[in-house]
Amino acid sequence: MNRRLAAWIVNGLLLGLAGVTLFPLLWMVAASLMPAGESGTYPPPLVPGHPTLDNYRELFAHAGMGRYLANSVLLATAATILSLLFNVAAGYAFAKLRFTGRDRLFKGLVGALVVPSQVAMVPLFLLLKQMGLVNSYGGVIVPGMASIFGIFLVRQYALSIPNELLEAARIDGASELRIFRSIVVPLLKPIIVTLGVFTLLGTWNDFMWPLIVLTDRELYTLPVALAGLAREHVQDNELMMAGSVVTTLPVLLVFIALQRYYIEGLTVGSVKG
């Protein structure tokens, strides 16, 4: 086959597919700027005739969107910080420190990696109820503070830290905590960013668990609130599109800014593992 023709086909296909993946997102933004009712006409309009921010105003003024946005920001940030504290320390220890039963323990954890977390949700709910954490921010964050996936990710990366470096520091009399803080953490920086982005996006996008554990509207995260609004306001296309923009734009921006780390993380977890 002619090389030029092949190049046209490859790039044409890529362009078409990229159009398919981006179209719903672009349409969301366009429809969110349309006055009520405009997107429900035929043929479906692609650009707003008279762009307006009314839908956003309505969402923040009457639908409590500001509150949900604040909840989401707060929960995602807290979950990310906690998850980094727990998982980075554990992942490093599994890679570089010796303790009884380490390898058997790690194998067991990795074996549990494929268990869907939803299987544990009913008892987890009862446990958190006993602890008084149902319907609180804590109920959303606490179960995810440490994750097998996070430990696994950090461990795979930490394996590449040279032992001589750690031994030299020990001979110089540095404590384990000191070694961790001033040698290990700087070396692990790329994977820390990766895990941070994963946790941030994961917590932000999570739906089923917050739906179960939060009952007060005041505490809802964006996805839970949006799902509720979408069930109530089936006809308000434009309003719902504005809600979707508020929910999904922050994570898209975080991803675009840090995509190098995110995409590296995906391949650390699979190809090299």
Binding site: A6, A7, V10, N11, L14, A18, V20, T21, L22, P24, L25, S39, Y42, P44, A89, F94, L97, R98, R102, G111, V114, V115, P116, S117, V119, V122, P123, L124, L126, L127, V142, A146, S147, I148, R170, S175, E176, W204, N205, F207, I212, L222, P223, L226, A227, A230, R231, N237, M240, M241, G243, S244, T247, T248, L252, Q259, I263, T267, S270, V271
Partner: protein, 292 residues
């Protein structure tokens, strides 16, 4: 502080969290599935009774449970191959030496993966609208009559599968792309010397080199597709005629709408068994085939 003690300070907190908030509930799920835990037991634990396998027997007689199981299998059996095919196809395109602006295309194709499932499900609900949805508009341009995507029991699941493939294929695309990039170029050179066509090179170099990764990716995707929940929750609420009720959706309603927590745990355990059978067993076989 000794090194050994230090190690426990590093792993201890994470292990405690995982043990208390994951392993313990996992074991409790099985115990709970053997009880009649309901709203009365929720109020006062003395109402709790051990009922053996009664919850499981009752599930077998619940038509909705079978519906949910059938729908979920439909979603997995049709959705996963489509999803993997899209991932592989786009990974090959991005890997092609002829492709331009690879970084840009990669970001665009991957974007749906990082979006919020609930938010994009809301978007697609409107794209699927029978009267003014964009999909039917496009179809009408090529002379196809409007399809009642989310209102027709025969079309609701295909619609959700289209949506799920759009949302998920980018994830495996990235992993397969990394796999393609790790295939040694010499193998292709040798094949080219022998005069192998593109199709031949794909069938005799790319596929065999990629197959361990393809198996792994497929297993993980199957496990992921078994966890379908937000899609029907937002787009169809399980309807029409319960054609999109998934196992997890059924578990959610059973447990957190009707508060039959014993029965919901039985559903969760059945889900666990399914996922275990389709992941752990093939994974073990696949590992045996891998060197090292």
């Amino acid at each position: 502080m000794s090194r050994r003690a230090a190690a426990w300070w590093f792993v201890g907190p994470a292990l405690v969290v995982i043990a208390v908030f994951f392993i313990l509930p996992l074991l409790a799920a099985f115990a709970l599935s053997l009880t009649d835990f309901d709203i009365y037991a929720l109020a006062d634990l003395s109402n709790l009774r051990f009922v053996g396998v009664r919850n499981y027997l009752q599930l077998l007689e619940t038509p909705l449970f079978w519906h949910a199981l059938g729908n979920t299998l439909y979603f997995v059996v049709v959705g996963v191959p489509l999803s993997i095919a899209m991932s592989l196809g786009t990974a090959l395109l991005l890997h092609s030496r002829l492709a331009r602006c690879k970084g840009l295309f990669r970001t665009a194709l991957f974007a749906p993966v990082v979006t919020t499932l609930v938010a994009v499900a809301v978007i697609w609900r409107y794209l699927f609208n029978t009267r003014y949805g964009f999909l039917n508009y496009v179809l009408s341009q090529v002379g196809i009559d409007p399809v009642d995507w989310l209102g027709d029991p025969h079309w609701a699941m295909p619609a959700i599968i289209i949506f799920a493939v759009w949302k998920n294929f980018g994830y495996n695309m990235i992993i397969l792309l990394a796999g393609l990039q790790s295939i040694p170029e010499e193998l292709y050179e040798a094949a080219r010397m022998d005069g192998a066509s593109y199709l031949h090179r794909f069938l005799h170099v790319t596929l065999p080199m990629l197959s361990p990764l393809l198996v792994m990716v497929s297993i993980l995707t199957v496990a992921g597709y078994f966890q379908m929940f937000a899609e029907p929750y937002v787009m169809t609420q399980g309807g029409p005629l319960q054609s999109t009720v998934s196992v997890l959706y059924f578990m959610y309603e059973e447990g957190f709408k009707w508060w039959s927590l014993g029965s919901a745990s039985a559903v969760a355990f059945v889900l666990f068994l399914f996922v275990f059978c389709v992941t752990a067993v093939p994974m073990r076989i696949a590992r045996r085939g891998l060197p090292g």
